[in-house]
Symmetry: C2
Subunit: 409 residues, 2 copies
């Protein structure tokens, strides 16, 4: 009987989730997995038996290098919420039937909070039903909101991208000699890690951002306008970084004050956009100052052309560590990053019980934010700066970065 | 009496306008200008005598390298429309009085259509009033809409940026296995050069974009929805690139159909945003398909972290050629780029009478667009592909690209 591995990717795309796929794949290959399968579109593809043989699609070490440099999810993704198995065993029976048919011994799921919930449930079900399949979670999310791990693969590259473009937006915003407010909307539903990364732009060659609005702090439109007006008394160009997830004290998202159609995904998450547009319109109406909004939108999660080499390397490492742990018999765990030292920056991997990760959210500690909730304190920069160090240069062909993609998807 | 040069930057920022500044500055220095001044915020700064001595602010060859890699306008910019001098000589008298006080012999203005209008009027006035000051225009605009020149410095880098991020957006958009339309809004008020650059993303590692909406072609919302629906019959993920400037047959901009506050600048240009948002909302409402909008917004003009080396080099060259021409006695001219050959790509500079440039707009020839107006023909790719070749790597310090900026601004 063959001993096979299967890998899935789930949740929102990042610039480094494919580096984790490369890490799991190469470690499984080196440890002697007979076949290494990829689920197309995560559990959706598994349930449809939409499976690829990765040894046949990733043919060379050059292709592995391209995989590391290709953003989004090579295997496709899904947003699929497993029901609890006490409520619905049908879907579990089907999943395990397919895994047994495929002679799967090791199961890897690369993703964020929702994906860790999937690993948690599948490994619990396996233990209760005497299945020997090992289930390992590989963390990935630009949001950096997973518990236990020092940070999540994907955050460093998104933070670097945000730092890079905030510097460029600040330069762009200071070009005219008239009052001008730029409101930049950054991802992060409940945790402000990405918005906080906008403060990395401040240095002796850049004025940085003038105000943060973090989802950890209740938002008040009047106070926001007062603070903006005070800033405008001292300088012409104001750049403000707001999280898409800022909420009023009554719990409504600020973007719900605007008029756009909104949609809700399978996990009940609202589609949050329009916060910056609403606020820049308020500034124009109430303060009579020219204002614009910039949504970093999907570019902040898929900008493979500007990634942190530290992040890409760690994403690869957590993939390899997950394979190592699974081959050594671990199950129901996620590989966490553990910071050993800040100066020089050193980080190792450690497996952790998935029950302590799934369905919790890590927010920014309030003591890392300044008194007026408008800026980050140095402790944040000590934490985040090492994560954006160094670059992984794209391989440019004919003027554009080369990617790899799965035509079967 | 000293013989001095003065340089101004005007109009919207680009990634390469500072490379042209470097080109003018170094050529003036090499040709023996006594002083080289910069106007802060273009003509606004000149009128306020807000002037910097560039030999004192650009101190080393390293700083020149940083200048070439810093997006936006080092000297600041303005949007200032000179009245015709037959209507208002006051402002002309004031400008020439200041230029004479500063002992200016050579005047350079780096910008787009409106800036060439400024050079045109100032040089005409100088000739009629026996002033010996030489006025030269240095072309710059991401929009590529200037006449005479084969292309404009700034276009190549913006086109490269658009090609890069469209590849990434296409990867991001194909990640789920459900129908999904992404509408990407790209700059270009009346000319579709930038939107057309989205088609550069198509290659054997990328599906490319599925539809273009260019401002050269009247827009019909119903036909747009019919085409989108037809595309959705064949594939799950659709990526559409629309120009911010697409107009209905009655002349209204599509974005005027949405509900946002709009403003008008000093040249009477409307602030165009919301086209993609309006269209993605229409797709959701009328076709019942999930859709999102992405505005490339200001990032497409200020992404100094991904520039075309071809473009940066040419921007530097037109700056140097402008100085050469002015020192040789030319005035009332713009330096144009003249393509000598496509394979291998070769381009030279040529001075041209500014009257043939100012206030004209170069649009995409309709014969470069396919029959259904949804894609570009190979002739466009032969034209545009050479312009995005090669990269100018940022100098990364502590994880972010290093810039240079003028604290006096």
């Amino acid at each position: 009987m063959a001993k096979n591995a299967i890998i899935g990717q789930s949740g929102g795309p990042t610039s480094v989730i494919n580096s984790s796929l490369a890490g799991v794949f190469q470690a499984c290959e080196n440890r002697g997995a007979d076949n290494i399968y990829g689920m197309c579109n995560g559990l959706h593809g598994l349930l449809d038996k939409n499976i690829v043989d990765l040894k046949r699609t990733l043919l060379s070490s050059l292709e592995i290098e391209l995989l590391k440099r290709t953003p989004s999810a090579y295997l496709g993704s899904c947003r699929y919420k497993l029901p609890h198995y006490e409520k619905d065993t049908y879907i579990y029976d089907k999943i395990f039937q397919i895994l047994n048919e495929l002679e799967i011994e090791w199961f890897f799921y690369i993703g964020g909070n929702d994906s860790m919930d999937t690993i948690c449930k599948l490994s619990d079900y396996a233990k209760e039903n005497n299945s020997s399949i090992k289930f390992m979670g590989v963390p990935k999310t630009i949001d950096n909101d997973l518990m236990i791990t020092d940070h999540t693969p994907g955050y460093g590259s998104a933070a670097k991208y945000i730092g890079v473009v905030m510097k460029e937006i600040v330069r762009d915003a200071t070009v005219y000699d008239t009052p001008y407010v730029t409101v930049v909307e950054i991802m992060g539903r409940n945790a402000g890690w990405l918005t906080a990364a906008a403060t990395l732009s401040k240095s002796d060659d850049c004025e940085g951002v003038d105000m943060l609005c973090l989802p950890e702090v209740p938002f008040d439109t009047d106070k926001f306008l007062t603070k903006t007006e005070a800033l405008l008394n001292n300088q012409k160009s104001i750049v403000i970084a707001v999280s898409e997830g800022v909420k009023l004290t009554d719990g409504r998202y600020v973007c719900e004050l605007s008029d756009d159609t909104r949609f809700t995904d399978a996990f009940g998450h609202k589609n949050l956009t329009g916060t910056a547009r609403y606020l820049s319109n308020q500034i124009m109406k109430k303060l009579g100052t020219k204002a614009r909004s910039v949504e970093l939108s999907t570019l902040q999660r898929c900008a493979g052309h500007v990634t942190s080499r530290t992040d890409i390397t760690e994403a690869y490492q957590v993939g390899g560590a997950a394979a190592k742990a699974a081959f050594e018999g671990h199950t129901g765990e996620m590989i966490a990053l553990k910071r050993i030292s800040n100066d020089p920056y050193q980080c190792t991997t450690q497996p952790h019980d998935i029950h302590k990760v799934a369905n919790f959210e890590k927010k920014i500690p309030l003591e890392w934010i300044n008194e007026t909730y408008t800026d980050m304190l140095p402790v944040f920069h000590q934490y985040a700066r090492p994560l954006i160090q160094a670059e992984l240069t794209p391989i440019y062909i004919n003027g554009l970065p080369r990617h790899i993609y799965l035509k079967e998807l």
